[in-house]
Structures are given as C-alpha cells and as structure tokens.
Amino acid sequence: MTSRPIRGLMVIALSSAALAGAGAQDPRIGNRLDAPSRVAITALLDSARAQGLPVEPLMEKALQGLAVGADGPRIVAAVRSLSVEMASAHRELGTIATVDEIKAAASAMHAGVPAVELGKMKKQSGLRRSLTLPFTVLADLVSRGVPVEAGVNAIRSLVGAGAKDADLNKFQRNVSVDIEQGAPPAAAAETRAKALPATTKPEEQD
C-alpha cells in the first residue's frame, strides 16, 4: 500500500507530466492556453484520434478560440461540442465519407440539422458525389432561418437531380439575397430549389 504522502507526490508528478505533455502536443497552442484547458484539449484530441476522427479540425477550433480571445473553458467546450458532432457525423455518414464531408456535416449539425438526415443523404448519393458543399450550403440555409426540413428537402432534391457544386453555389447566393430582401426563408429555399435544372439522371433511392 502506498502511503498518502508518497501517493500525493505521485499524483503531482503524473499531473505535471500530463501538463507538460499537453503543452508539447502542438506548438501552435504552446502556453497560450491555461494548463487545465490544455490537458482537456489533449484528452479530447486523443479521444477523437482513438475513434478514427480527424483531429486537425479540433485543433483549428481551439486556435480560433485563442484568436478571438476566448477563455480556456469556453474553448474546451467548443472543441468538445465539435468532437461530439464529428463523431456523430462519422457514425452516420459511414466508412466512405471523406474528412471534408465529416467536417461539413458537423457544421450542418451545429446549425441544427439532425445527423440522421445527413446520413440519409450520404447513403443516397454514395460514392458518386462528394457532399462537402451540399452540407456546407445546408448549414448556411439553416443558419439564415430556413427550417431544417425545408433546407434538407431543398438540398436533397438538388443533389438528387444531379446539381453540381457550381449550381449549389448559385442556389446559396440566390437564397441569401432573397432572404435579405425580405423573403420568408423557407419559401426562398423551396422556390430557388425548383429553379435549377436537372442536369443529370436522378439518383436512385435505396
């Protein structure tokens, strides 16, 4: 049995090692973040890595927090939230999803889109099409007030009709202008989604 003082020393030694390790994890953070937050960030990165998730987006989130002057707990909370969203996105999108698709899906989830909806879209489009931009546009629509269901329907119909990324960029710009000019967000999305032509054969449903 280890005596209490010795055990205390061991705890201190381990904590110091953990803090030193955390600081050494990424020189971009260095000592810009308080030690407990560095440890928490390191743990979140390790956990993400163990789940097969890309860790760079989490690091970028921490760096963004530092750039705007956020405090440690707020940065940790933001990184944790992103890691949860990326894990859900990874689970729903499946093995074939790219890192960029997972990042974009996490952003859409942050805006309020359920992961399961993103998973359905990925299953529908499969390997044929990257959904990085569709998910990015969907996040934008929802953050501009388009109801989730209307946004999902609009993006699904566009992707299903074979819309290219250029079409989706045009769609996003048109909807945002319509909303800025006073159009109800749902109506703007639904109307603009109808305007784009079906350029290729519709994708098969499961």
């Binding site: 163990a50 093995t95 790219t98 299953k123 499969g126 390997l127 499961d206």
Partner: protein, 180 residues
C-alpha cells in the same frame, strides 16, 4: 492543416513516399475492423490489410478518384478478404477492441459481456462468406445498398437477399445458442 486524400495521393505519385504513411495511418483502424470480422482473427486481418495497402500503393496511378482513395482501398481490401480463404477463428485474439470500451463493459457485466461477444463471433463465423460480407457492409460499415453494389459488384436485389438471409441465419444461430 490535415491533407485531403487527394492531396496525399498526389504527393505519393510525385515521389513523396512518406505521404503514404499518412494514408495508412488514416485508414488502418477503420478497415482493420472489417477485416477482423470478415476473416475471424487478427493475424489474417492484419496480413490482408497489409496486402491491401501494398497493392493500393503499387496501383495508385490507377486510382481514378484520388479524393475517394478510402473507398478505392476498401474495394481492394474486400477483394483481398474474398480470396483469403476460409475464416479462421483463433480464440483469445479474435476481437481487438478499444480498451476503454472493454474495461467499461467488463466492469458492468464481465461474464455476460464475454459470453455475448463469443456468441456473436461464432454466429458471424457460421455465415457464408457472401452473407457475412453483405451483413458487415450493411450494418457494421453502415453502407447503403447502392454503395454496397458499387463496392462489391453485386446487384442490389442480390445484396438485399444476402442481408436478409444473414439476419435469418443469425436469428437461428443465436436462438440455438441461447436455448442450448
């Protein structure tokens, strides 16, 4: 900045062999799971995965969609597993789980957890290779039937039939285990 698959493939094709290490690191665990379940043991799975990575490297110039390197590699692994021969279960080293999850499970219901895992392992091993492949792709890798068809080269209706039969078979096997 974490490089995209396409960026890494391009670097490899231009002679940066280290970039391939990043691809190996990115996909090894994700695809090890499929290989372990498909082949039934870690050693064969690692060998299949090594071969798949090596074959992919050798054929990298023929990867038509570098941004989908992962899916292309998965097809190579799937073919490698198909030609690997019969599934060989080596007890005690078949499932290599996340240690944290294992610890949690064993703390909660150690005996039940082990028994349950062995039941599943045996039942999966009893499936035909076609059924096992379809079941793993559908439920474990969580692919849609269209993706499965694209990866396996098998028609959607045939895949649905395989998955259904796999479920039927698992139902029977696991019920037998339970009642036995």
């Amino acid at each position: 900045m974490e490089s995209s698959d396409a960026a890494l493939v391009t670097r490899v094709l231009h002679g940066d062999v280290n970039a391939y290490g990043a691809l190996v690191s990115r996909y090894r665990d994700r695809y090890a799971r499929y290989a372990v379940h498909m082949l039934g043991n870690r050693e064969d799975a690692e060998e299949a995965l090594q071969d798949a990575f090596t074959r992919a490297y050798r054929s990298l110039a023929r990867c038509e969609e570098p941004e989908r390197f992962g899916a292309w590699l998965f097809r190579i692994l799937l073919n490698r597993c198909r030609t690997s021969g019969a599934r060989r279960v080596r007890r005690g080293q078949t499932f290599v789980h996340d240690e944290g999850a294992l610890m949690k499970a064993s703390q909660e219901h150690p005996a039940e957890q082990t028994m349950w895992r062995e039941e599943i392992e045996r039942a999966i091993g009893e499936l035909s290779a076609d059924q096992r492949e379809a079941f793993l792709l559908k439920y474990v890798e969580d692919l849609g039937y269209d993706e499965m068809a694209e990866i396996t080269g098998v028609g959607v209706s045939a895949l649905k039939m395989r998955v259904m039969r796999a479920c039927d078979r698992l139902r029977t096997l696991l019920r037998e285990v339970h009642s036995g």
